[in-house]
Subunit: 790 residues, 2 copies
């Protein structure tokens, strides 16, 4: 504990209370204006039908609570010079955040046409939920935001990711009670078990219980305060409650509780930074219970609105056709006394405006919410120093991800506070364990003697939750740092929707001029479908590739390095990049190594190309054997070898694709190769037998529009699998070297296909294989080697 | 409270203790045998290298705990005649469950070749984790299982879904401490807020803390009992702890705690069923803390194993090459005293075997875990009674999902305990609110006066968690009941991986002869990408179609009904079906109605066909306008109308596709149409302009292999969107009627394409549209109608 005297939260004096309430009323007023008004923004004239928008869109229910928190945080930011951003978890919080950032002036800084006067206010109102205008969720164009309020569940993950290695940052994270029902949110309270106040910033979670979702009650709202206290204390938080519907009472209580929380966080940090961290601190958390649609219409048409689900969206509708409703709206608008809040020009009164902090301390202008501004490039060691060297190609098996692990270890060392690996407890299993030479697993609770590389100071983020890993990494990169999410391939689909939403964010951000480029979100999928032979069917699924290829081309990249040197080259490229989702897929098991480092660099830079050293006749081939992915590459090269032996007259070209998007026509993806280059690699009309890591349809999807697309015959994963041998996996999915050879015989010109010996050989081996699998129980031979060598 | 005297848990007598421990030792022994032995199954001979499997696979760590629970549940099932199944949440629990169901005889009932003697035991050992053999996860072939242990996070969801409307069922659900870190698991504790003991069965969750995941400590294991108590009490549970590493002590404690929990559940149920339910009961929950790999080797090579992550998988390796390790294994096997447990023939001693309940009460034989046996068909009202009738086609707009809602309401009435709708708080928003005339929302906590159709007795399952909805419905259908999961289209991707895993389950189950057919899992995706104009970009994503089409064809079905009558016909078909994932996509907004009920039935039965009434010249067309999905159908028909007006010489055929899988070649999907039928509908060579609801690549993927595939020009969602008008959405994604007409001009034979008037008309309207959107802020005209009518 620090020896410094404890700072004590002080009650609001009457002037502070007046000003905070004024700010809050102004923000609430601006929310209503955004929903309803297309003219008469300050209701200086009697409200008429023609002042009302033709279509009423937007959500009132959550706004008063979001505004309350914003107003009070403003006071504390100024008082304590806090470095703070605001994340609004509740859906449809857009108008609230927009109102506040307009009041503080940030909005006008970013959008000068939305001036800080009556004309700007009207523009603010009219652009909201208008075609091509401003969405009802907090989103990319909202100043101060790095969290979209559309798909619920991730606000705490983004918040905690943002504060990792960001010691001065405090994120005020508002969790909606609807959102709190989602699995990802429920699983993210535990993030404090991974936050070390010595080096990380802090998150102040505020659970805002307003009782209802769209139409049903929320689970937590129907639990008692005693229940909630237990629930959060059990997870390590110190809980404080603020509850009520009288604004002045709530202001007073909330000011005390919020200030106490901020002071407690500063104490925790000061103590840890002076004395080190001995145990997980009890981080403050606030539960705020206020009515849904607070200060809105109490009753409309005899039905209760405020405090019920009916206040979720537009609390009083049909305002253009129902004069009584119009009157309710008018009274509601006047209830905030806009004439006290805004001057004759529609500017916020200076004394109220002074509540906001200045410059970059304003939550709408804090560069932490435009993390590209803060991005330091990674210091990358020379990846070629880790290269695999070999005397002879394709002889020795080496674990490619283990080699990457050594590279990542050195990245950790060179970037101690600018890089983290996120992984669901599989760093060792994925053979990346070399990183533990540079950093431990992070856990900020009791460490026990038997633990292996676990410490409070560790920066390898292992938690058995793909949601946590993805969400934390998003928050980390959105605030300008770098990282890698490594996971078992099949379980990447758990975060399909998170990948989609993050892709939308990045894509949208590229179109918002003031958003700076952020580090890419890098995925390493390993423990792949082809080599989960011992884990069985549930672990076999390459569907995350499908998820990435349908993202907007400008943000989506998919790499299938076939060996360690290619992996190093691809990883180096991805870690330098900005604004992408980079998907890298490669297995962790020892595998044959195909290219020297020099060859790999040339090959990866081009993304796809002919491999003459594995082709019997790369020029004017009778058949092209193409492949993408490590196991498909092995099967393809083995097939080429078999063909050379058994059908030496056949001219075979082997093509490997590392950068999957190069297959796309150039007008469909920035990496798409020109038709000329495509023909150079795949010829204009030669049949192609293509072995692919994922679902075959993906290749057809990408190739659409290429000349003579129908000559491509794709083998890939077709949802066949069980606990079996690696070779049986490729047989079950009909992608084995034998199947590829049979395909060659099927598709090459007829005169070349009459190789009965080859066909018989392949069929005999397949029959033998089946018998071998069938007999396995009884004779237990050694598992047959499936290497390229015969 | 019932007046019946309370039953009290009784301590184990010495004989019970001896037998339970014997069962437990036997199960543990069989676990080790599965990992290690290929001969000498009862270690009657000195253990030699040749008795050891060539490759050591399997997971020991979690097994002793799973076995302990199984043994103790056996006693209570017999004592109280419980109807109980066992769900093993921890990954790699396969060998434990297999050991127990073999001991109780269920395994041999299903697999007679695995006899209940030494030969059968050896077979059991040898088939485990062998190519083509038995996986290390609890999985489809495991008797007694409806929960796969591969992808972690869903055990409680499956358990709670299974007990809904299943009043006699008790599910013993073991939650691993690794699994407990996942988001979906963390979000599923709240399931008790939706369980009504009057009509539902019960779940007994047992959180098994053994401290470690693969290599790192678990979050919960490092929290205190006081923390855990608070965490669970805060959510409504009554928590009991059993902790220790001395088997006899743990047996005694666990027996008392488990019996108390079972009795408490029976009390809760008896009370609620006699006296009604007044408030959510405090359901029992057990936390079991025992060492990882308990009773395994304590130390190997000087390193601690038992109680650490090193016991996760194979605790002593290299047994074939390290004589010291071989000796450790031998001593370990002997430590269970197999000679006391099994007779000379390798049969379990009769007095131990008697611990198991008889017949269908055995957890491996309970029909609840083979739910197809219990499936009652739905009583389906005549769906044609809900049909839309119209005077004139395509004039009036009606909400198709609202019409489905009325049908679902009547299904609820006809099947009060055999059908449920699962929805993330969007039943009204998705326009299915008619169901509330038949049933309320379910919530088993405080109901407040302002609540709308919320009650303890409700069977409409609304929770803001797609994971809960999907997982509960899986459990519900796996035990033989029927349901529908309705959600916003974009957020279906949240459960991509759950859909994949359930598809794998169904597909695998079809290949396991004793598994009976179960009801399909039906999805209704509405609030689609094309009509989330006010919700914006985050709500626009049709990617769940991609997820379903890459499932094994035998289980995957995708339907895109274009109007209400087609939706009724498709829904009726899906609800009758078994063993599928049926995906239905249709928007909720009022939409034009195209087909009479009679036409819809014919059209849906065929799945795709020509619509002569919307074609200018269905025979020998110059161009085929194809469509799949409601908005694409509208744009296509509008394009056909425009073409008829402006290019009357052009022969246009309109084709609609309801059943997406019909596009596949017949050898790739059971619904794939023959080439002859394909040509009949799409012609052999006429250009096709195809408007599709989802990503265009999906169509190219499905069409691959069709003749002249390159003549198909697909428009669809291409990740363009924002808050805008419906018509702007189709413009942004270049799928509007105007874009389709321009495509027609691009692709029809040159002589027909010289219609300058049409091209100019379309281009002028597109320019006007853009200007209109741009100017919208300033002049606020009414949003332009985008109907078929001009």
């Amino acid at each position: 504990m620090s020896d410094a005297p404890l700072a004590l939260p002080m009650p609001l004096d009457i002037e502070e209370l007046r000003l905070i309430d004024a700010w809050w009323r102004a923000a609430n007023y601006l929310n209503i204006g955004q929903i309803y008004l297309s003219a008469n923004p300050l209701v200086r004239e009697p409200l008429l039908v023609e002042h009302i928008k033709p279509r009423l869109l937007g959500h009132w229910g959550t706004s008063p609570g979001l505004n309350l928190i914003y107003a009070h945080m403003n006071r504390l930011i100024s008082k304590y010079d806090l470095d703070t951003i605001y994340m609004a978890g509740p859906g449809h919080g857009g108008p609230a955040l927009i109102a506040n950032v307009w009041l503080e002036g940030s909005y006008t800084d970013f959008y000068p046409e939305v001036t800080r006067d009556e004309a700007g206010m009207l523009r603010l109102f009219r652009q909201f939920s208008t075609p091509g205008g401003v969405p009802s969720h907090v989103s990319v164009p909202t100043p101060g935001s790095i969290h979209e309020g559309g798909e619920l569940g991730y606000v705490l993950l983004h918040a905690f990711g943002a504060v990792m290695d960001n010691p001065d940052l405090l994120v005020t994270a508002v969790v909606g009670d609807g959102e709190s029902e989602t699995g990802p949110l429920a699983g993210s309270w535990k993030s404090i078990d991974f936050i070390n106040p010595v080096r990380d910033g802090a998150v102040l979670p505020i659970l805002h219980l307003n009782g209802y979702k769209i139409s049903g009650p929320t689970v937590w709202a129907r639990h008692t305060d005693a229940d909630l206290t237990k629930f959060f204390e059990g997870q390590g938080y110190a809980v404080a409650f603020v509850e009520g519907d009288d604004p002045m009472t709530v202001h007073r209580q909330f000011a005390l509780v919020l200030e106490a929380a901020v002071l407690r966080i500063r104490e925790i940090q000061a103590d840890a930074r002076s004395n080190g961290l001995s145990e997980r601190p009890a981080w403050p958390l606030i539960v705020l219970r206020t009515p849904k649609g607070w200060t809105g219409p109490k009753v409309v048409d005899g039905v209760k609105i405020e405090g019920t689900f009916r206040a979720h969206q537009v609390p009083v509708s049909e305002v253009r056709t129902n004069p009584e409703h119009l009157q309710i709206l008018e009274e509601w608008l006047h209830s905030y006394r806009p004439e006290e809040l805004f001057d004759a020009d529609g500017r916020l009164q200076p004394e109220i405006a002074a509540l906001a902090p200045a410059g970059k301390r304003r939550m709408g202008s804090n560069p932490q919410a435009n993390g590209g501004l803060l991005t330091k490039p990674l210091t990358l060691p020379d990846h070629t120093a880790f290269q695999v060297r070999f005397e002879e190609r394709a002889r020795e098996r080496m674990g490619s991800t283990a080699i990457l692990g050594a590279y990542l270890r050195d990245i950790y060392r060179a970037n101690p506070d600018n890089f983290r690996l996120f992984c669901p407890d599989e760093t060792n299993s994925n053979r990346l364990g070399a990183v533990f030479d540079a950093s431990d697993r992070c856990l900020v609770s009791a460490i026990e003697p038997g633990d292996d590389h676990v410490s409070h100071d560790g920066r390898v983020m292992e938690v058995l939750s793909e949601h946590c890993c993805h969400g934390w990494l998003e928050g980390y990169t959105l605030t300008g740092r770098h990282g890698l999410f490594a996971t078992y391939e099949a379980f990447a689909m758990i975060v399909d929707s998170m990948a989609m939403q993050h892709a939308k964010w990045i894509e949208h951000a590229r179109r918002v001029s003031w958003r700076a480029d952020i580090p890419s979100l890098n995925y390493l999928l390993t423990s792949t479908c082809w080599r989960n032979d011992h884990n069985g069917f549930s672990h076999q699924g390459p569907g995350f590739i499908d998820t990435i290829i349908h993202r907007k081309p400008i943000v989506a990249r998919v790499y299938l390095p076939p060996d360690a040197n290619c992996l190093l080259s691809v990883a180096d490229h991805c870690l330098r990049s900005r604004n992408y989702l980079n998907l890298i897929v490669i297995d962790k098991q020892p595998q044959l190594q195909w290219l020297t480092m020099g060859e790999a660099q040339v090959h990866c830079a081009r993304g796809a190309g002919v491999w003459p050293m594995y082709s019997s006749q790369p020029e004017r081939p009778d058949i092209v054997l193409a492949c993408a992915g490590d196991v498909p590459t092995q099967e393809t090269i083995a097939a080429a070898w078999l063909l050379r032996r058994l059908a030496p007259e056949l001219k075979v070209r082997v093509v490997n694709v590392v950068d999957l998007m190069r297959l796309c026509p150039a007008d469909r993806h920035p990496h798409g190769m020109s038709d000329a280059e495509f023909v150079e690699i795949f010829t204009a009309s030669t049949p192609v037998v293509f072995a692919f890591h994922g679902y075959p349809g993906v290749i057809h999807d990408l190739l659409h529009g290429r000349s003579a697309h129908e000559r491509f015959h794709v083998r890939g994963y077709m949802e066949e699998g069980t606990t079996t041998t690696p070779f049986d996996m490729v047989v079950l999915n009909e992608m084995s070297r034998l199947h590829l050879c049979l395909d060659v015989m099927r598709y090459v010109p007829h005169s070349l296909a009459a190789n009965d010996e080859l066909v018989a050989h392949c069929k005999r081996l397949l029959v033998e294989h089946e018998a071998y699998i069938r007999e396995y129980f009884d004779d237990l031979p050694e598992i047959r080697d499936w290497a390229w060598s015969d």
